[in-house]
């Protein structure tokens, strides 16, 4: 099981100043690896949505990435309030974001559905009062 690359980013909840910075850096890393640009686009869109969810809802979190066996795996893990109803949260347009977040262009209720849309395999686990973990796998070939 050869690992081509791996690494992680730490995300601070509420840090809108640096919103998207980790995903943009991830895009540079994946581009430098010479991966297919359509695969990169799907992966970093999913990562960006997850990064924004951590910034909007959580206290803190990490984005980890690894390429193994022809697949890119991105894991987003946060310490935060968790999600009470995952099925509802996966509904396009459903959002619990406050108005000030919407005024910044986020919280439209598209984040989790868009992460799923761009992943070949999408899994989400959440514990209310503890946090949420999302795993995205994009097959590279």
């Amino acid at each position: 099981m050869d690992t081509l690359i791996d690494g992680n980013f730490h995300i601070v909840g509420g840090d809108f100043t640096n919103a998207g910075k980790a995903s943009t850096e991830l895009k540079t890393i994946l581009t430098n690896c010479g991966l297919d640009i359509t695969k990169i686009r799907r992966a970093v869109i999913a990562a960006f949505e997850g990064e924004m969810n951590i910034i909007i809802y959580a206290v803190a979190g990490t984005i980890s990435y690894t390429i193994q066996n022809g697949a890119l795996k991105i894991t987003l893990q946060d310490i935060g309030p968790g999600i009470k109803n995952i099925e509802l949260a996966m509904t396009e347009g459903y959002s619990t974001a406050p108005d000030w977040v919407r005024e910044m262009g986020w919280g439209a209720g598209m984040g989790l559905p868009n992460m799923k849309k761009n992943a070949d395999i999408f899994t989400i686990n959440s514990i209310v009062g503890e946090g949420t973990t999302v795993e995205i796998i994009v097959n590279l070939y």
């Binding site: 919103a19 910044m104 262009g105």
Partner: protein, 123 residues
């Protein structure tokens, strides 16, 4: 519609111009202030029309591979956004028209909403 024609119709001016080809042809527009909609609906052949002149708009465009942003109603990007656009090679323009009017002008010239691509695919 050629980029130079879009710029002319919208009476737009360049803030950061990395465009090497004013004759590049565009067919799709993503017109929204919601960055999640940009990520959900845009294609890398779209140009972005928005009133949200923030650094996060540049980051969103970078992630979504959008090379052109046109800010509406003379919303000028702040210094952070301009510097980020220069760093990432994103061209920024500003038009005096509102997002509604600018969208209407481009629609009238035959450009389409990028989310219609998905509707077409679903049909």
């Amino acid at each position: 519609m050629l980029l130079k024609e879009i710029i002319s119709v919208l009476e737009a001016r360049a803030i950061v111009d990395y465009t090497t080809d004013p004759n590049k042809d565009y067919h799709w527009v993503c017109a929204t202030d919601l960055m999640s909609e940009v990520l959900f609906y845009s294609t890398c052949q779209s140009l972005l029309l928005t009133g949200l002149a923030k650094a996060q708009t540049i980051r969103t465009a970078t992630i979504a591979d959008l090379g052109i942003i046109i800010f509406t109603r003379n919303n000028l990007p702040d210094d952070e956004a301009v510097e980020l656009a220069k760093l990432k090679g994103v061209s920024l323009f500003v038009t005096p028209y509102s997002t509604f009017t600018a969208s209407g002008k481009l629609f009238g010239q035959g450009l389409q909403c990028c989310s219609d691509i998905n509707l077409t695919q679903e049909d």
